[in-house]
Symmetry: C2
Subunit: 222 residues, 2 copies
């Protein structure tokens, strides 16, 4: 399967050990999760060899083909440490439902998640500008052509990092509870409470235009 | 402020450096965020002194006073490493809105997040049973008294870890875009698209009871 271009090649760090049937290395599945999620959780270890202090922070991100971009203040010490090539790990999680089983033990959640291992690279010039546009467009499609573009000074205040999608896995749980056969007749409601992140009506700032913005498709109630 | 019992004491690791006005150490704010969120992102560094490989994974959790509990398979190597006292960092994030500004640079998100630094401790006996009940009840209030209780074997298959709320900070962004004065007259829609995780109608598993389960209050449309 190592030559199957539709999948990432599993590594020792990305091989799914718990519930391997829920694991996938399928690029299309990974891309869809990354494109729907608004926030990633970015982890890195700081400190010297005597102190492996992990830190994890939420941040906006966007996927561009086989790369994700994150951004922040150029003065951000943690992003600067990452830009220096420190090993990073990124998790992206969508919660899709509460799974209520007949037994306490089999309670679960439905979810779609991606974990990425890699090192970040700081972007400059045209690459940086492109990533910045994509980050803005992720919040509202077409937005980067509507809002005032970033000035040179604003771009200098912003650090943009790229993390390649090379060492990547996804894990997906779908469907109802998986109860033991002996429990199926118990008088307990069992099933799934579906969950979804949904957009409400846009709230205009002050005296604004009346044309509301585009909202990313996954956030619109079906 | 170090003696103010309504707040966590900031440390070098939890002091908010970027947008400090958005940071808070208020226990009530932290508790509310932890009680609403279903998933945390748990980070830790593994490997020897030559390889500070961070790993971050999403997992269910629940708060109990000044502790959070996470659980997983007793065979989970990463949880076992954490139970051994490896330093951990936990991030919990609620995404509340897309903030669309008149300038690309001032685009943002509304969010409420908590970051916790600490080491985990494995629970046993009555403490473990209590944590397990709370984890189940978080998915649906009262559920731990309705579903079949975990057997001794099922409890042995489950590892429950406690992480104390000692080194904790929260960060909250609310409200509309903060545009430059020069941009206020630009013909660009500006405002907020509110976002919320919402529960849909429960989907019963097979031929089940007709009484639907309780759904956690924050997930119910107001």
């Amino acid at each position: 399967m190592a030559n199957d271009q539709s999948k990432y090649a599993p590594t020792d760090r990305t091989r799914i050990r718990r519930y391997p049937a829920r694991g996938t290395y399928d690029r299309a599945t990974v891309h869809a999760i990354l494109d729907e999620a608004l926030v990633c959780h970015l982890a890195f270890a700081v400190g010297d060899q005597h102190q492996h202090q992990p830190t994890v922070l939420p941040t906006a991100f966007v996927r561009d083909d086989e790369t994700i971009y994150v951004h922040g203040s150029a003065k951000n010490g943690l992003l600067s440490a990452l830009a220096g090539g420190a090993p990073a790990c990124v998790a992206v999680t969508l919660v899709d439902g509460l799974v209520l089983a007949r037994s306490a033990f089999h309670h679960s959640m439905n979810y779609r998640s991606v974990v990425i291992f890699g090192a970040a690279r700081e972007l400059t010039g045209a690459e940086k500008a492109r990533a910045f546009h994509l980050l803005v467009d992720k919040l509202s499609p077409g937005r980067s052509t509507q809002a005032r573009p970033a000035s040179e000074r604003e771009m200098a205040l912003t650090m943009v990092l790229a993390i390649p999608l090379e060492e990547v896995s996804a894990k997906v749980r779908r469907g109802g509870p998986i109860d033991d056969a002996d429990d199926m007749a118990l008088p307990v409601w069992a099933g799934v409470v579906p969950l979804a992140l949904r957009a409400g009506a846009p709230v205009v700032d002050g005296v604004g235009l009346h044309q509301p913005p585009a909202v990313p498709a996954p956030l619109i109630e079906k």
